[in-house]
Subunit: 389 residues, 2 copies
């Protein structure tokens, strides 16, 4: 049997044309884009046109897009800028943010920031009213992830932003609204300008691009902490990863132009998967995924529990059978307490969280893979349940 | 005539085998190294072995090497860590640091650091005694670039470190010594452990690797500002650029294993180049390169002036003739004042600095290229001198 890859939220298989495109770009665009000779200008021109392509796909201006080294880097540019100038001294983060945002908490507290966490309801979704309750006259920064990488919950960003902007108008102090949109890009419709957010982070390798390249949307330029040669409008210095930028823009083109079709296909696969999962003894969906209103959960991420079987045991056994799933965020795979933070905050009991598995889908998955996966899952769970009670 | 590339200090042409290696790596190592399934572990194992290779080449321990997105990123990790905990409140930077270090000055001052700059002598070289004069009981951090990217000066890092360590012993307070070794790696012998430094930055694309990947040597782990999924021992979070890491380690292998031979060849080319340059009317070497003790200047970087002809005019005209040189650091090409900072600090007059050109060589350059370059240079200068007096 061919391998079944259901860990797309950790990283997507690379688009088949990209390795060649990257290899050609490495040869074609060798000049340093900051060099003023012909080879430098040739690289610079390519970056400009890649930026234009990405901006067009996101329906924003090219100068609002900063190429970074990935989602964590994009988040870090925003978060570390808070060390520089205090935009108010109160911050609101969702309790289910990615570690690249959440783990900033300790350092932000050292710098005197007061931080409140907004928890989602037991369905993993954040209610705008809950943020409203936390807003203070000195609130200056809010970060809410668009699509959660573990629960798949699609946060009502538009409604959240409206709530914040209304408070902002009355209060008269600017609030920077950031969203980690790494799991949203290319998966669900996401237009930064329409959402009225101030910044958003994206990653190439989650949409079939290479690792090591990402994007940061910035409504307006900000003062950043790090500095250097002035590249990327001074927001993200360092010689530009030209071949990575070319590959990212191509991956965005492929993903965003096929977004609707991929979404529909994945929605069908998700429905099939859920209909099977609910009938496997020992598997429980972590959220009421089979019966929710549309656009509340990404069809690309399905979260379940096989408790009392430890999630990591099942992941390892399925891996031996050629199936790749995960227990949650790959980025938290080293630390158990950190590993269950997001699920805990989303109302999942510690017991259920310890048995959690994440099945994340992508554009090349098929019905057959879902059926084979469920059969192998059922077989293994029935064996494992004899040892884990 | 084929193009003559003499801008290696800005970026080196990629090693011919790397585009293919990268393309294959992108297909072979698709898993997220943090994923616990087979594909994840396969990527993780590769990163580990690449790290071992790099560590072996630098004669240090693998856990002392952090993969970053480039030289600026490596420098930024070190500099931004200063915002977190004040290791003393006095810092010494060389006045000829790369912008990715030098430009931190403003923000460090905001955070209450007192900064002293050590200027090189008129030969571009920093005298350890000059640093000694600046050391204070509360000095906690010092950064001195190993090979200057504009002047080619090789700073006496070993002597500088000895001076600092002696003061450190007497004073009883730890001083973190950092060096930007981007222009040293693969060019001159550089062994971090022998130098007794605390950290050093490296970049792949300066030694024929791809852009967007670099290294940070850390003698001991440090607390860093940014945070995330714990990758790279928590020092540099974010999904690892696996293919970039593979390519970097290969580029290091190719450069470091051929270091001696390349150095000898380049030394010969430099001697030839200098012997020709001194005979071209209107060209003046910026440092006494023809008559200095060994190991004071990198043979890879030659700095001259064609004043009163503006350097950027000559760069553009030579570019039209298929020759790539630069006026100085590519990273400062956008800002004239910033552009001449390093030369000014190295004792070059503003007039000479405005006519400065940097000729930077690499392993594939030939005697013929030097001769052709000098002929074309002479021809163009004699024309330009009619208009620039």
């Amino acid at each position: 049997m061919d391998s079944i890859y259901f860990d797309w939220a950790a990283t997507a298989p690379i688009h088949s044309e990209l390795p060649d495109l990257i290899s050609r770009s490495l040869l074609e665009f060798q000049g340093n884009p900051s060099s003023t000779h012909s080879k430098g200008k040739f690289s610079r021109k390519q970056i400009d046109s890649s930026r234009k392509l990405c901006a067009k796909l996101l329906e924003i201006k090219p100068e609002q897009l900063i190429f970074t080294s990935g989602g964590t880097d994009s988040n870090s540019i925003i978060l570390s800028s808070l060390f520089l100038k205090k935009p108010g001294s109160h911050i609101i983060l969702s309790a289910v943010e990615h570690p690249s945002i959440y783990e900033y908490t300790t350092n932000l507290k050292i710098f005197g920031y007061e931080i409140d966490f907004v928890k989602p309801s037991s369905d993993g979704l954040i209610i705008p009213e809950e943020i409203n309750k936390l807003l203070k006259p000195n609130t200056g920064f809010i970060s809410i992830m668009t699509v959660n990488n573990e629960t798949g919950a699609i946060q009502p960003i538009k409604e959240i932003v409206s709530t914040i902007r209304e408070f902002e108008r009355k209060n008269g102090r600017f609030i920077h609204i950031h969203t980690d949109a790494v799991q949203a890009l290319g998966k669900i419709p996401f237009k930064p300008a329409l959402l009225n957010i101030d910044s958003a982070s994206f990653s190439a390798h989650k949409i079939g691009g290479p690792k090591g390249i990402g994007l940061l949307y910035l409504k307006k330029p900000i003062n950043v902490l790090s500095s250097g040669g002035g590249q990327e409008f001074g927001i993200r210095p360092g010689t530009e990863n030209v071949s990575g930028i070319i590959a990212l823009s191509k991956a965005m083109e492929l993903s965003l132009n096929n977004l609707e079709q991929n979404y529909k296909n994945t929605e069908l696969l998700k429905t099939l998967l859920i209909s099977k999962l609910v009938n496997i003894e020992g598997v429980k969906l972590l959220f009421n995924l089979e019966n929710t209103k549309k656009l509340s959960y990404s069809p690309y991420i399905i979260s379940a529990t096989v408790s009392p079987i430890p999630g990591e045991v099942l992941v390892r056994i399925l891996s031996d059978e050629g199936i790749q799933i995960s227990t949650g965020s790959a980025c938290s795979s080293r630390n158990r307490k950190k590993q269950i933070r997001v699920l805990n905050a989303s109302g999942v009991s510690e017991k259920d969280a310890s048995g959690s598995i994440r099945i994340s889908l992508g554009w090349s998955n098929t019905e057959n893979e879902i059926i084979n996966f469920c059969n192998i899952l059922e077989k293994n769970i029935s064996i494992l349940r004899k040892y884990h009670k």
